[in-house]
Symmetry: C2
Subunit: 339 residues, 2 copies
C-alpha cells in the first residue's frame, strides 16, 4: 500500500488520470464498471492506482451520488449479547456486499435513537436496521425516513414494515408447556416491557396455562435484574403450598433477577421451585443447576435482516415482508425435575 510521501495531499482521481495518461472519466469507469474499458487502458489505470495508493474520496462520491454505500445498525442495548450476535451477522453480510456498517447504541433512550436516525439521514445512509424502543414502535412509519428501514426484535402496532423477529408467542408457549410437563402448576410470569415482544410472550404463556385450566399470574415489570429480583422476593417468601412452583422470565435480565431472588431465599432448583426464561446468556450456565432458556437464533435474525434490507434497497416498491423465526429450547437443571 504505497503512498507518495512527497505529495502533501492524498492523490485524487486527477493524479491517477494524469499518470495513466487517461481521463478522469475513464478512471472512474475502471472503478465502477471495469468491463466497459479496454483491457490495456484498464491495466494502465489500475497500475497508476496501485502506484499512487489512490483511494476514492468518499465525500465527493457521496455528494455526487446523493447517497452513501453505508448502512446503519441501531440497537437498543449493545451490552445485550443478543444484539452483539446480530451485529456480527449483519456486519458479515454488509462486508460481503461492499457496504460499510455503522453501529449505534440507543441504550433504550428514544432521544438517542432519534439522534442516530438523524445521523443516518445526514450521512445519506442507504439503509438502516433498527431494534426500536417501545416508544418508537408506537409511532413508527417506514415512509418517514429517507432510507429503507428493517426492524428487528420488536414490531410496531400495525404499520406494514420489513421485519424480523422471533415467534414470541410460540416460544413462550413452549417454555410454559415445558414447565407444565415437569409438573409445575403455579407458574408466575415476570413480564418485562410493554413492547410487542413482551406482550406476545405474555399471550403465549397465558394461552398455554388456560388450555390446562390453570390461572396465569403476571407481574408487569421494567426489564432490569434489580426489578426482577425485587418482584420475585416477596413471592418466594410465602407459604410453600401457595407460592409459585415455577418462575418464567420474559427476558435475560429479569431471569437473572429471578435467579438471584431464588438464591437469596435459599430455595433449591428445581425441587423447591423451577426457573426458566428467554435468552441464552453466558451466565445461565454458571449456576448449579444451570438455567433453562429459550435461545434465540441470533445469527439467523441478523442475516435475515440484512437480506431483507438488501432486497428492499434493490427494489424499493416491493411490499413489506415479515420474517418469523423459531428459537431453541435448552432444557437445563433449573427446570428438569427428576421423575
Amino acid at each position: 500500500m504505497p503512498a507518495d510521501p512527497s505529495s502533501p495531499h492524498p492523490p485524487s482521481i486527477k493524479d491517477v488520470a494524469r499518470r495513466a495518461n487517461a481521463s478522469t472519466t475513464t478512471v472512474s469507469r475502471v472503478l465502477s464498471q471495469p468491463d466497459a474499458v479496454r483491457p490495456d487502458l484498464r491495466q494502465r489505470v489500475q497500475q497508476a492506482i496501485a502506484e499512487l495508493g489512490y483511494r476514492p474520496n468518499l465525500a465527493a462520491r457521496r455528494l455526487r451520488q446523493q447517497r452513501a454505500s453505508l448502512i446503519g445498525l441501531i440497537v437498543s442495548d449493545i451490552r445485550n449479547p443478543f444484539f452483539t450476535d446480530i451485529s456480527r451477522a449483519v456486519e458479515d453480510m454488509a462486508y460481503r456486499h461492499g457496504l460499510r456498517l455503522i453501529l449505534c447504541n440507543s441504550d433504550e433512550d428514544p432521544a438517542k435513537e432519534q439522534s442516530y436516525l438523524e445521523l443516518m439521514a445526514d450521512e445519506q445512509a442507504s439503509g438502516v436496521i433498527l431494534s426500536p424502543t417501545p416508544e418508537l414502535t408506537r409511532r413508527f412509519r417506514a415512509d418517514q425516513h429517507p432510507f429503507p428501514v428493517v426492524l428487528v426484535d420488536r414490531a410496531p402496532d400495525d404499520t406494514p414494515t420489513d421485519l424480523v423477529l422471533l415467534d414470541n408467542a410460540h416460544a413462550a408457549r413452549r417454555l410454559t408447556e415445558h414447565l407444565l410437563d415437569q409438573g409445575c402448576r403455579r407458574i408466575a410470569l415476570l413480564a418485562g416491557s410493554r413492547s410487542s415482544t413482551g406482550r406476545e410472550r405474555q399471550a403465549g404463556y397465558e394461552a398455554a396455562l388456560r388450555e390446562r385450566g390453570l390461572a396465569p399470574q403476571v407481574l408487569p415489570l421494567r426489564p432490569t435484574a434489580d426489578e426482577g429480583q425485587a418482584a420475585a422476593a416477596p413471592l418466594l417468601a410465602t407459604d410453600p403450598a401457595e407460592r409459585p412452583d415455577a418462575l418464567l422470565a420474559t427476558n435475560g435480565l429479569l431471569l437473572l433477577g429471578a435467579w438471584k431472588a431464588i438464591r437469596a431465599a435459599g430455595l433449591t432448583m428445581p425441587t423447591d421451585i423451577a426457573l426458566a426464561g428467554f435468552d441464552n446468556n453466558d451466565w445461565t450456565t454458571l449456576p448449579e443447576p444451570a438455567v433453562t432458556v429459550l435461545a434465540q437464533p441470533t445469527a439467523d435474525i441478523g442475516r435475515s435482516a440484512a437480506e431483507l434490507l438488501l432486497q428492499r434497497m434493490a427494489e424499493p416498491a416491493r411490499p413489506p415482508r415479515r420474517i418469523v423465526l423459531e428459537g431453541t429450547l435448552m432444557v437445563r437443571g433449573s427446570s428438569a425435575r427428576q421423575v
Copy 2:
C-alpha cells in the same frame, strides 16, 4: 421539524439563502460563527432554516473542509463490558463537542482492525480511539495515520503515543499482596496474552512474590474461558499440600475459566483455594462466594481518552501524553479468608 413535502429534494443552502434574502455565505456563517452576523439578518436566516427543515449536507461540507467532524472508536471486543463502558464515556464527550462517533468492533482480528482504520481514513475522521490488537501494538506508529490516534488499554512497545491505561503492574501487585495477606503462599497466575498489559500484570505479580521470597508459578495462556479452565483443572487435581492455594487471573475470561475449574473440582473458596482476578464483570457477583476482582475505572479511561484526543486535535504538535489510572480492589468471598 417541518419539511417541505412539495420539494422533491432536500433543501440546500441555496434554498435557505433565497428564502432569507441573503447570500449562501451568510447562511454558512450563521451556522459556523453566528456572532459574525448582525442579529436581524441572523434571525431571518435561522427562521428560514427552521421553516425549510434545512440540514447541512455533510458530504459537501466534508469535501470542502477535507475532514469530517467525526471520530472513531475501534475496540477489540464489543462484548467485553470493559469496552462497552468506555464507549459510553467516549460517546458522552463526543456528543458534548458536536462530534459524531462511529463504533467499530475489531474482534481481536488484525485484518478487521486494519479495515476499520482504512474506513476511518476514507471517511476523513478527525481522530480515532483504539484498543489495538497485540499485533498492531508491535508495529504501531502514530504518524502512519492521517488522523490523531489515542490508544487505550494496551501500549505499543516504545513509540511515544497518546495513551490511557491502567497501572497494570501496580494493580497486579495489589491483587497478589491481598492474596498473600490472606495467608496464601502458592499463588498460580493464569496469564493471558502477550500484550503489554498482560506482561505488566505478570511483572507486578512476580515482583510481589519475590519480595516475600516466594516462587512465581505462571501459566501462559490464550485469553479464553475454555483455556483458563483447561489449564487450571490439572493444577487443582494434585496433592492438596502441593497444589496452589490461590489462583490469580489476568483477565475476566481466564477468571471465569478458573472459577469453573474450581467448581468442577469440588473445591471450596476461599478455604481450599482462593480466587481473584481482573475486571469487575457482572458474573463475578453471581457465584457464592462472589469473586474478588480489581475493577478498572472504565468511565475514567473513556473520558481521559476522549479528552486526550480532543487536545491533540486542537494542538497536533503537542508531545504525546500517557495517562495511567488506578483501579479499585473489590474484596469478596472468594479470597476473604476467615481469620
